[in-house]
């Protein structure tokens, strides 16, 4: 185990070479995590900015989209997109996600390596300039953000939010989160409510941008064949002019499952969607990520898992039935698409399978299959720049990120007793059922 307190170190601009990756401190709470490799055709840069979910959710959510749309150098989005096309179809996207009590804003870029360009232009240098320009030189007028663009982005964000919820799998999961985490930040929609988005003004978003520059936990994840000195120098220069006062990483309080909450809603759809939310213990969740990873996989991961083998294969109740463990929230969700009238049967089957794990009713082969499957998948992550970057970006608020190799070592150590111990602190908290009223005649 490492005992580095990285956030403290970062202000000293220290470089740490971790073998598989390198960390460079830029300013308090700002770091560059990079992997230098020339096996890929492309470079990848992910800019992640973490803020608390609690207040200002909508203003924070819209920010990366406003920044991606245009910048000082390219004030018009058609011009900017045209430039990206000239740079051999450079991909540029904005996103928002939540994890623990953080809302993570991101701007992501993929560009072809200079070796593959048909011209002499350096694509990577140009892309580094572009993405840093997005954060530090946004489009402003009269000292604020441009009203017309903010209005457009408000419409686009509201439509994006609606469209995502039109997918009933996403909708059911989101409803279960809302109900289960009603009293905590994680229960909020990642984009805020439609009303909050509608009420945003250019001044709100501008102020949020300034706060993000001052307070957010920022990580630039860079996967590239090029040296990262250039991006580091640009960032050091830019952040030297900003007085940083980084948000505290608040410990997510322990929220034990109480009486099971149950909500059933009906919609005119053909398939019912069942989502069950379970809670673990926060401390156990933080310290035992690999144990929980294996427990959740053995219970409801791939085709070797309890849920697949029994609820799908033996009982033919569904096409999918899977479990996901959220380490930062100490929550496990089980999701399945079922015939509405099979709700009771499916709930019972899922609980039965979880009890089997709790009682140690699984073979050594099942455990071995889970460990091999998780470890094999982890090793494949390093072969795609997007996935490799995501691995490190997901750890942007962790004090010290770990490599895929360390994760595989962690998985290797998980024992049968570990799986049993982790499953025994899992308790059902919330059941959400989206009932389909068109179930009879598909």
């Amino acid at each position: 185990m490492r005992s580095l307190s990285l956030f403290a170190l970062l202000s000293d601009r220290i470089t740490i070479d971790m073998g598989d990756f390198k960390i460079v401190g830029i300013a308090p709470g700002v770091r560059v995590v990079s992997v230098k490799t020339d096996v890929f055709k492309t470079g990848r840069i992910v800019m992640s900015m973490a803020m608390p979910i609690a207040k200002n959710t909508a203003a924070q959510a819209i920010l990366p989209f406003y920044l991606r749309r245009a910048c000082k150098q390219y004030p018009d989005f058609t011009e900017l997109n045209g430039r990206l096309n000239e740079l051999y179809g450079t991909r540029l996207s904005a996103g928002v996600s939540k994890s623990g009590d953080f809302q993570k804003l991101s701007i992501n870029m993929s560009f072809i390596d200079d070796r593959f360009s048909l011209t002499d232009e350096s694509i990577s240098a140009e892309c580094v300039k572009l993405i840093t320009g997005m954060l530090f030189e946004p489009l402003v007028s009269d000292g604020g953000f441009v009203e017309k663009n903010i209005e457009q982005e408000k419409r686009l964000l509201i439509e994006k939010r609606r469209s995502e919820l039109d997918d009933k799998v996403v909708y059911a999961r989101s409803r279960c989160e809302e109900i289960m985490c009603a009293d905590e930040p994680y229960g909020r929609n990642v984009y805020g409510t439609e009303e909050e988005i509608l009420a945003l003004t250019p001044a709100d978003v501008y102020e949020t941008w300034q706060n993000v520059l001052k307070e957010s936990i920022i990580q630039f994840t860079v996967i590239s064949s090029a040296d990262t000195a250039e991006i580091e120098n640009i960032l050091k220069g830019k952040f030297s002019g900003i007085e940083r006062s980084v948000i505290e990483k608040s410990a997510v309080p322990v929220r034990n499952a109480g009486e099971v909450k149950y909500v059933n809603e009906a919609q005119p759809v053909k398939q019912g969607k069942l989502v069950m939310g379970f809670r673990s213990e926060m401390e156990k969740s933080e310290k035992n990520r690999f144990k929980n990873m294996i427990m959740a996989d053995l219970f409801g991961g791939g085709p070797h898992s309890k849920l697949f083998m029994n609820v799908r294969e033996k009982m033919s109740l569904c096409y999918y039935c899977r479990a996901r463990f959220l380490r930062d929230n100490s929550i496990m969700f089980v999701e399945s698409g079922i015939e509405t009238h099979n709700e009771e049967k499916a709930r019972q089957a899922i609980s039965d399978q979880l009890n089997k794990v709790k009682n140690g009713d699984f073979t050594d082969d099942e455990l071995k299959a889970s460990k091999m499957s998780v470890s094999d998948s982890l090793q494949t992550f390093k072969d795609t720049p997007e996935v490799l970057a995501a691995w490190y970006a997901l750890q942007s608020t962790d004090e010290s990120p770990i490599s895929l190799r360390e994760a595989c070592e962690g998985v290797e150590k998980v024992s049968r007793q570990d799986v049993i111990d982790m499953s025994r602190v899992i308790e059902l908290d919330t059941v959400y059922m989206l009932s389909g009223t068109e179930g009879g005649e598909a």
Partner: protein, 422 residues
């Protein structure tokens, strides 16, 4: 055994094409520096293959959704099923069925030989019983319901059916009624007809070598008995519905707008396909004038995109997105296309879109999954893996303008819309 190597110097990539004595074509692209091996064993058999040719040359019909049903059932065995076997190696195994192919696959970072062995073995060892077929009805029934609740799926199926005389072939999984007709015997019939090694291909990309793949292939492949299955050309009736809609439990109105190409041949050429993608980007890419206008008039949002969809018997340029007024969007696009055909494409816009497509093609070579699938698709099309990128690198404005004039039959179009219920 003939082994041929193909290289692309600019990409710094190469792959080998092996004519295995068993009758199977094997394609291998080693990727130095990668840990992952990704393998696909694919049959030239998809949902568009609705008929089997009898010995007398006539065709008889099989139920819709059979290719997909067979894909589910091939994992089963009278001993250990394929998933159980892969569970012992740590590989992630899966399979998929599309309009024109069925593929079985694994991805792994260890035990490559063992995984190759399992994949080759189970795909060559059908085991179907009435009991296991019956059991699968419930699982696939739920899969079909999941698709039927998905607006994206409905938009696409409805559009293709509207363009192709209400043909059921695009509904890959079939319907609960059609799959109810499937028996163990149906599956054996289809297996014999379509899973002959002469009608299949095996593609591997990533952490592997030709020697490693051949060592397993020599042991595992049983000589093919039959021949390449004859594909029945779909109905060529030009019976098009210009508008179709479906009401679903959604909040957003979505549309898919496409043109049916009537070029009198079952498949388009590499040049036609590449030129089509460039043209679609010139028309509707996010740097185009049309995109800007539609965006500023609040007729589309960032979900707006385009796609060139082609396969055996179908070729459709598609525009897709969300809008409060899909009819107006489709009218504007048609008007824009008709203007563009008159004026020709602006050289700068052409170059931007060509470079974008070229870069996106380069990016595909990062991912062993994309590579293996592209090896399969290009082989079934009778093309080489590098053909598209070579054509793109040398594409001219003249070629693109010529393609533009032939690509859109302005009368052969349809608009598919999914609307909120109530």
């Amino acid at each position: 055994m003939k082994i041929k190597e193909y290289r692309n110097e600019k990409l710094a990539e190469s792959y080998s094409e092996i004519e295995h004595p068993s009758g199977l074509k094997i394609l291998v692209m080693p990727k130095p520096g990668y840990s992952t091996t990704y393998a696909l064993f694919a049959a030239r058999y998809g949902s568009i293959d609705t008929h089997i040719q009898a010995p007398d040359g006539s065709y008889y019909e099989i139920p819709d959704g059979t290719a997909h049903f067979l894909e589910h059932k091939l994992f089963e065995s009278d001993e250990q099923d394929a998933f159980e076997r892969f569970a012992k190696t740590g590989a992630s195994a899966n399979a998929f069925t599309s309009f024109d192919r069925t593929a079985y696959l694994f991805s792994c970072s260890t035990n490559v030989k063992q995984n190759l062995e399992i994949l080759m073995d189970f795909v060559q060892s059908p085991y179907f019983t009435q009991q296991t077929v019956d059991k699968e009805q419930g699982i696939i029934g739920q899969e079909i319901r999941m698709y039927k609740d998905s607006p994206d799926w409905s938009l696409m199926i409805n559009l293709l059916q509207a363009l192709y005389s209400n043909s059921p072939v695009f509904d890959v999984a079939g319907t609960e009624e059609s799959i109810a007709k499937i028996t163990a015997e149906t599956l054996y019939d289809c297996y014999r007809n379509f899973y002959d090694l002469n009608n299949m291909v095996f593609a591997v990309a990533g952490n592997t070598t030709v020697e490693e793949v051949l060592e397993v292939a020599d042991r595992m492949l049983k000589p093919a008995k039959g021949k390449k299955a004859q594909r029945k050309l779909p109905d060529s009736k030009n019976d098009i519905k210009s508008y179709v809609e479906e009401k679903m439990s959604v909040e957003t109105t979505q549309f898919m707008f496409g043109f049916r190409e009537n070029n009198g041949k079952p498949e388009v050429s590499t040049l036609e396909r590449v030129a089509s993608s460039v043209i679609l980007d010139v028309i509707a890419g996010n740097a185009s004038a049309c995109y800007k206008e539609l965006m500023e008039e609040e007729l589309i949002n960032t979900s707006f995109s385009y796609e060139y969809l082609d396969g055996f018997g179908y070729a459709v340029p598609i525009f897709v997105g969300e809008s409060n007024d899909p009819k107006l969007v489709s009218e504007k696009i048609r008007k824009y296309i008709s203007e563009l055909k008159k004026t020709g494409i602006d050289p700068k816009a052409f170059e931007r879109s060509r470079r974008k497509l070229y870069g996106r093609m380069v990016m595909e070579y990062n991912d062993v999954e994309n590579i293996a699938d592209a090896l399969v698709v290009s082989y079934f099309r009778g093309e080489g893996l590098f053909d598209e990128i070579t054509v793109c690198a040398g594409l001219t404005l003249e070629q693109v303008n010529e393609r533009l004039r032939a690509m859109f039959d302005e009368e052969s179009y349809s608009l598919s819309v999914v609307l909120p219920k109530g």
